[in-house]
């Protein structure tokens, strides 16, 4: 009996582990596969074009991100070519799939090099990006990642980011709350089993010390216990928090909003880019999200002209709403364009010469993109852009 029970418990643990694996992949819905090959360029008469390569997962669990990046990059390249190219040279874009795997990513990099890639827009996910960044550093190739948000990605001089680093978003959120005096007592509820969430939480709390508010509760949950938030909310309420910071994904946030409502607790809720999507949770009562604020570089429902043009074009071509990854990729392509114009490089130069010139030029340019106006880059590779604060009003995202 004893033996049997311990055997069953071991099996239970095994099931638990697998169940955990399964549920971590459920954030992505089915993404339409990107058409990755591009042949839509009219090469200049002498055959010299800029060749930009893209690497990212267009199949596999992270396909929703990679597909969006490649589709959006293609839109940007087509626009540039229609408008006459960069310095008169047409641009060719080719995407390779890495399934978010470091080894496949390096293979993809090598095959793009054989194709004649001069600049790399990639890779989409962090772990492969770290592996590829070492290869581009060896070759002196200029690299800009649209979405790999870890600071480990940009250790080499030749690598730049178009997205925020995780720590940055925490700092920016704390500053925004402090500067706009949104609250005096803040509670944080975060997912301690997720790098994105715990990364933002750590820098948020650090920066909060410099701001005019107090963090009264830091409450965690994990991937295995993300259905019941009553205790965390109860603590936030009893500590008198008037704002609850949620650096988490929208799935859990929708439950938190529901449970807070059931408790009659009505603080301001404040989230980051992971919150984008909360209005699309099926059967979710969107009136609960009313007044929810989020700091995010991009929201597809935003009403500015640039976003709307991009979103409608994306929908027309790919039948899907672009996400933040797509917007970052679109901006990354325009950043490459601006850097090439600034440096005045031509396609006949060697890869490492182009790389050196573009690396220098990156710190001098300023790009007005989908994910921010007046984006500039530090020599470290970090982007500096003001995240947009959005608030949900009448069931739609509205800029603040």
């Amino acid at each position: 009996m004893k033996k049997a029970v311990s055997m069953f418990l071991a099996a239970a643990l095994a099931v638990g582990t697998f169940a955990g694996c399964g549920s971590s992949a459920d954030t992505g819905s089915t993404g339409s596969a990107a058409s990755t090959e591009s042949g839509s360029t009219d090469s200049a008469a002498d055959g010299s074009v800029f060749k930009i390569g893209g690497i990212g997962p267009t199949t596999g669990a992270a396909a929703i991100y990679g597909s969006a990046v490649m589709n959006a990059a293609q839109i940007a390249v087509d626009e540039i070519n229609e408008a006459g190219g960069i310095n008169g040279y047409q641009v060719e874009f080719k995407a390779e799939d890495d399934q978010s795997d470091a080894e496949k990513s390096v293979n993809a990099y090598n095959s793009l090099k054989d194709w004649g890639m001069q600049v790399l827009m990639g890779t989409v996910t962090t772990t492969p990006c770290i592996a590829v960044a070492d290869k581009t550093a060896e070759d002196g190739m200029f690299e800009i990642t649209p979405s790999a948000s870890s600071t480990d990605v940009i250790e080499n001089d030749n690598v730049f980011q178009a997205c925020f680093t995780d720590p940055n978003l925490g700092t920016a959120s704390a500053q925004y709350i402090g500067e706009n005096k949104l609250a005096t007592k803040v509670a944080v509820i975060y997912d301690s089993s997720d790098v994105y969430s715990s990364g933002i939480e750590a820098t948020f709390v650090k920066e909060a010390a410099n701001q005019g508010f107090e963090v009264v509760a830091e409450e965690a949950f994990t991937a295995d216990s993300k259905t019941d938030f009553s205790t965390q909310l109860q603590k936030a309420q009893s500590e008198g928090a008037d704002l609850v910071f949620l650096p988490i994904y929208y799935t859990e946030a929708s439950i938190i909003l529901n449970q807070a409502n059931g408790m009659g607790y009505e603080p301001t809720f404040f989230g980051c880019d992971g919150m984008d999507g909360i209005l699309d949770v099926k059967n979710f009562d969107t009136s609960l999200a009313e007044g929810l604020m989020l700091l995010t570089p991009f929201v597809a429902d935003a009403d500015d002209e640039k976003t709307q043009a991009f979103v409608s074009k994306y929908k027309e071509l790919y039948g899907d709403t672009p996400n933040q990854f797509g917007a970052d990729a679109y901006d990354a392509i325009y950043a490459i364009k601006a850097a090439i114009e600034e440096a005045g490089v031509t396609p006949d130069m060697s890869v490492s010469d182009i790389g050196t010139a573009l690396t220098e030029a990156m710190t001098k340019i300023s790009v007005d993109g989908l994910t921010g106006d007046g984006m500039t880059w530090e020599a470290t590779g970090e982007v500096s852009k003001a995240p947009k604060a959005m608030v949900i009003k009448d069931g739609a995202y509205t800029a603040m």
Binding site: A11, V15, G16, A19, A220, T227, T231, I255, N258
Partner: protein, 293 residues
């Protein structure tokens, strides 16, 4: 006052665990097998209620009744197809099959309903009870869950003690072969056990999703594991044990999260389980069974 609130939250969570654990414990007690697919039957029950209520506009009562019927049938079908052919096989083979059924149900749901999270509509419309001038709120769902849990336990105990079918279950649980010799239809009895257990899963699922309103194909997996823990904790095979184990587990989880660490709540729950099993291997109310050589 905070402590009381946490306690109520714990009882609310624990009552759901208890109802699921009742299903585990029934099947284990009678068929001597762990039905790991139990948690996923819960998920199927939730989807039935979700589809009928949100999709077809049904009322809560017919939706829940339909869900119970579908889950009961599903339980019998699973038993007939997956477990019955293995009646004479080793317990390990049956266990692996149960895990297989669990994955089958999860992936079938993934295929049919997609991975998107759905927000579940609360089926309980009872207003919340406010005590001590509003400082203490007991939600309607909590009250209904707790009452359902106690009523189900009492009904099950009466059923087993007073009815012929219940007595047959008891006989099968003690000695399958001897029961057969006495004229008990063992197969029918085991099917009935699965039917009752799965029907309970539907009830548990609806109450779980009402309290924690989110629904994905993996919704049943974690509560299933926790409820199994609760069943072992209370003494697997014992019906009142499942209730006590479930409620204690819920309370320990919530109090651990509130007073020790919100990150370690699961670790605390399982640490308590290990301690209980070390001290009393058969669980709180479990009978010490001596293996006959």
């Amino acid at each position: 006052m905070n402590f009381l609130s946490y306690l109520i939250n714990g009882i609310s969570l624990g009552s759901v665990y208890a109802i699921i654990a009742l299903g585990y414990t029934m099947v284990y007690g009678i068929a001597k097998m762990l039905n790991f697919a139990h948690g996923d039957v819960i998920m199927v029950g939730c989807y039935i209620v979700f589809m009928t209520m949100s999709g077809q506009g049904w009322g809560a009562v017919p939706a829940v009744v339909l869900s119970i019927i579908v889950c009961t049938v599903l339980g019998i079908v699973i038993e007939k197809i997956a477990y019955k052919p293995l009646r004479k096989a080793t317990p390990l083979a049956v266990l692996i099959t149960a895990i297989g059924v669990s994955y089958f149900l999860e992936n079938a749901a993934l295929l049919i309903f997609g991975a998107d999270t759905r927000s579940f509509t609360n089926v309980v419309t009872l207003p919340a009870l406010k005590l001590a001038g509003g400082a203490l709120t007991i939600s309607g769902t909590t009250i209904v869950t707790f009452l359902a849990c106690v009523v189900i336990m009492a009904a099950l105990m009466l059923f087993i003690k007073k009815t012929k079918a219940g007595q047959a279950m008891l006989a099968v649980s003690e000695d399958k072969d001897a029961a057969q010799l006495m004229g008990v239809n063992v197969n029918a009895t085991i099917s009935l056990t699965f039917a009752i257990g799965s029907g309970l899963a539907a009830v548990a699922g609806v109450l779980f999703c009402s309290a924690y309103p989110t629904l994905t194909p993996y919704t049943g997996a974690m509560p299933g594991i926790k409820a199994f823990t609760a069943a072992v904790f209370g003494g697997i095979g014992s019906i009142p044990g499942a209730l006590i184990g479930g409620i204690l587990l819920g309370v320990i989880e919530i109090l651990g999260r509130a007073y020790i660490s919100s990150q370690l709540s699961d670790a605390i729950v399982f640490a308590v389980l290990i301690i209980v099993l070390l001290v009393k291997p058969s669980g709180i109310l479990g009978k010490q069974v001596h293996e006959k050589v």
